[in-house]
């Protein structure tokens, strides 16, 4: 079966007064139907921008090249009509801060109805009933009452459930969740993840979960893509990733997690690179404890090494040697 979403050499850049920011520098990504892909990276790694660009939600000053095919439809450079027919229907997005992502003066029910009626024709009352059903599906108590309320009357977790309900209203093939739990309490986080997984299995939707939290990845992802400085540096099934991380950055991420028994946290030294002039070769080189001279001209391509695909040429050499 072919992947539901496929990107090839996706590149996004932004002109700024200080220079052109190369936010995404050639991302090749496949999402299979029904799978949960976790996208991990720091702020600035390009993880959100990649998917915003696929959905055409970036400011018009953004320059996007490459290809992104959703179930046979090319999205990069597509007409407005095409993009609009895809958005909300075949590919939907959940954003990080549900309070600012929801229109404060529209009722919750109406906002979901808007999503429904954007792609399905039905009488308003029916759409409204459907909206209430969706709210019930995501576990909101008293859905009919809640549908008449406004975003500020909800708690953070409830708002995020609403966002999920809205996103699945038209049963999209791909659901992109952009750090949906980052702004929530840990306990609420767990609830939202449960809702998400429940919804996914019910609709067999592919889920792209963007986050910087490895714990969440461990919990729900089937497969993981690690992004750094606008490119993918490692890709693996989730268990393989955690057991044998191939890339120094991935290892660094795991090492910086608090663990029972470990005395000290080990952060990754340095800070994310300047995306106007990223380091040549492997972008992680300045922060990598294992870097060699060769790294400054390394191509940053993913090669299967052991159980993961990694872009680290050292790992690649070692892998070839074995």
């Amino acid at each position: 079966m072919s992947p539901i979403l496929s990107t090839r050499d996706l590149r996004v850049s932004f002109p700024t007064p200080a220079g052109t920011v190369l936010a995404v520098r050639g991302v090749n990504l496949d999402v299979e139907r029904g799978e949960v892909v976790g996208i991990v990276g720091e702020s600035g790694s390009g993880k959100s921008v990649s998917f915003l660009s696929i959905m055409g939600l970036l400011p018009s000053s953004a320059v996007i090249t490459g290809s992104a095919v959703l179930d046979g439809t090319e999205l990069i450079g597509a007409s407005d009509k095409t993009i609009r027919s895809v958005r909300g229907k075949r590919m939907a997005m959940i954003f990080q801060d549900p309070l600012s992502a929801l229109n404060p003066v529209h009722r919750i029910g109406d906002q979901i109805v808007e999503m429904i009626l954007a792609h399905q024709t039905m009488p308003k009352q029916q759409a409204h009933d459907r909206a209430v059903e969706l709210l019930d599906l995501v576990g909101l108590p008293q859905p009919a009452l809640r549908a008449k309320q406004y975003p500020h009357e909800f708690s953070g977790g409830m708002r995020q459930r609403v966002m999920i309900a809205m996103a699945i209203a038209n049963e999209p093939d791909v659901l992109v969740a952009d750090e949906p739990t980052t702004a929530l309490d840990v306990t609420v986080q767990a609830q939202i993840l449960d809702v998400l997984m429940e919804v996914k299995s019910r609709l067999n939707t592919a889920v792209v979960f963007i986050t910087h939290d490895l714990g969440v990845i461990a919990r729900i992802a089937d497969r993981v893509e690690v992004m750094y400085a606008g490119m993918t540096v490692e890709r693996a099934q989730v268990n393989d990733m955690f057991e044998t991380p191939g890339h120094p950055y991935t290892r660094g991420l795991m090492a910086s997690l608090p663990q029972a028994g470990r005395q000290r946290l080990e952060p990754i030294v340095g800070s994310p690179p300047n995306m106007i002039a990223p380091p040549s070769g492997c972008a992680f080189r300045p922060r990598c404890s294992e870097a060699t001279d060769e790294c400054s001209s390394a191509p940053m391509e993913l090669v299967q090494v052991g159980r993961t695909e990694t872009a680290c040429i050292r790992a690649q050499h070692e892998g070839a040697a074995t």
């Binding site: 920011v21 921008v49 750090e179 702004a183 995306m275």
Partner: protein, 332 residues
């Protein structure tokens, strides 16, 4: 005057969006102080930057009035025995012409500017002082005090400005001990007090709105936890974080006072500082009749001066607003 407290809470940019934009712009590394960024945004506002230069030049020119004026404020350009000296069109001896008594309009404009600018700056400075104090205290304390202040300002602002101005002017003028303290209704002192009475309320409202937005922030909570008094918090935290609205209020205030003074003068209720001293408003008022007779210069130059000042200050105010509230600026 639109009530600026209402519109500002309409939306908040999420931290995530800002982080994405910052990250996208490679700003996770560099950091520029807010003050410097405000300055840079101000500079980007072309009209404001030009206005600062013009206004600065004007102020300096006016301050150097012993040097820059050609005649005294009440001095005729030459004695009447030497020929007609009144209502003369612009010429070498009087660059802007002369008025009905033969005085040099150019010099009088400079003197008038001095008075008007002084009035404007003083009145808005005092309004600012009172308004900032009352407004920030009301915003911070909330409760009864805030309610009362709000009611009071609402009531006062319910009156058309000029109506209230004239009535208050009369009331103040009628009470003897008040005039003993602040001067007669036609003195500069009186006008400063009068305009302050009106000016502080607008400022108070703005500050109140600003403080109410700020007081939920952690640094206020932290200061309180450290035992700071309300006034300390206001002085050290809230006011410095409100420089934007304060500066904008100041600039609007100056324009308002200058225009109000001119309006009062137009109807005969303006200052009469004696000894022929004059203000821009008085010059404008004097020109009304002269214009019908065709002495256009008597209107043109005072009007031009007035417009120049109000336009410059307005642009500067707009530049300041852009500088401190980037959402409104145009570079997005």
């Amino acid at each position: 005057m639109p009530d600026s407290t209402r519109g500002s809470s309409l939306s908040k940019r999420s931290a995530a969006t800002q982080a994405t934009t910052d990250a996208v712009a490679g700003l996770t590394v560099a950091s520029v102080s807010p003050r410097r960024m405000a300055y840079m945004r101000f500079r980007a506002h072309k009209a404001a930057s030009v206005s600062v230069v013009i206004l600065a030049f004007l102020v300096i020119y006016v301050l150097m009035s012993p040097l820059t004026t050609r005649y005294g404020v009440n001095e005729q350009i030459f004695d009447i025995s030497q020929g007609k000296n009144y209502n003369l069109a612009p010429r070498a001896e009087a660059w802007f012409g002369t008025d009905s008594i033969g005085r040099d309009l150019y010099s009088r404009i400079i003197f008038g500017l001095r008075v008007s600018l002084l009035l404007g700056i003083l009145a808005s400075a005092f309004s600012l002082a009172v308004g900032v104090a009352v407004g920030s205290y009301a915003g911070l304390k909330g409760g009864r005090f805030d309610d009362v202040v709000m009611r009071l300002t609402d009531v006062f602002l319910a009156f058309p400005f000029l109506v209230a101005l004239l009535v208050i002017r009369n009331v103040l003028g009628a009470v003897p001990w008040i005039t003993a303290v602040i001067g007669e209704p036609s003195s500069i002192r009186f006008l400063v007090v009068l305009f302050t009475i009106f000016g502080w309320m607008g400022v108070a409202r703005i500050l109140r709105a600003q403080v109410m937005a700020l007081k939920e922030r952690e640094f206020v909570e932290a200061a309180r936890a450290a035992g700071a008094t309300n006034w300390y918090i206001i002085r050290k935290h809230l006011i410095p974080n409100s420089t934007g609205p304060i500066l904008v209020a100041l600039s609007l205030g100056v324009v308002g006072v200058i225009v109000s003074e001119a309006t009062l003068s137009l109807f005969g209720y303006g200052p009469s500082p004696g000894d022929g001293a004059t203000s821009l408003g008085l010059l404008v008022a004097e020109s009304k009749l002269a214009v019908r007779a065709g002495y256009w210069w008597l209107a043109l130059y005072p009007f031009a001066a007035l417009l120049l000042v109000t336009l410059c200050v307005s642009f500067i105010g707009d530049g300041l607003r852009d500088a401190f509230d980037p959402k409104q600026s145009v570079e997005q």
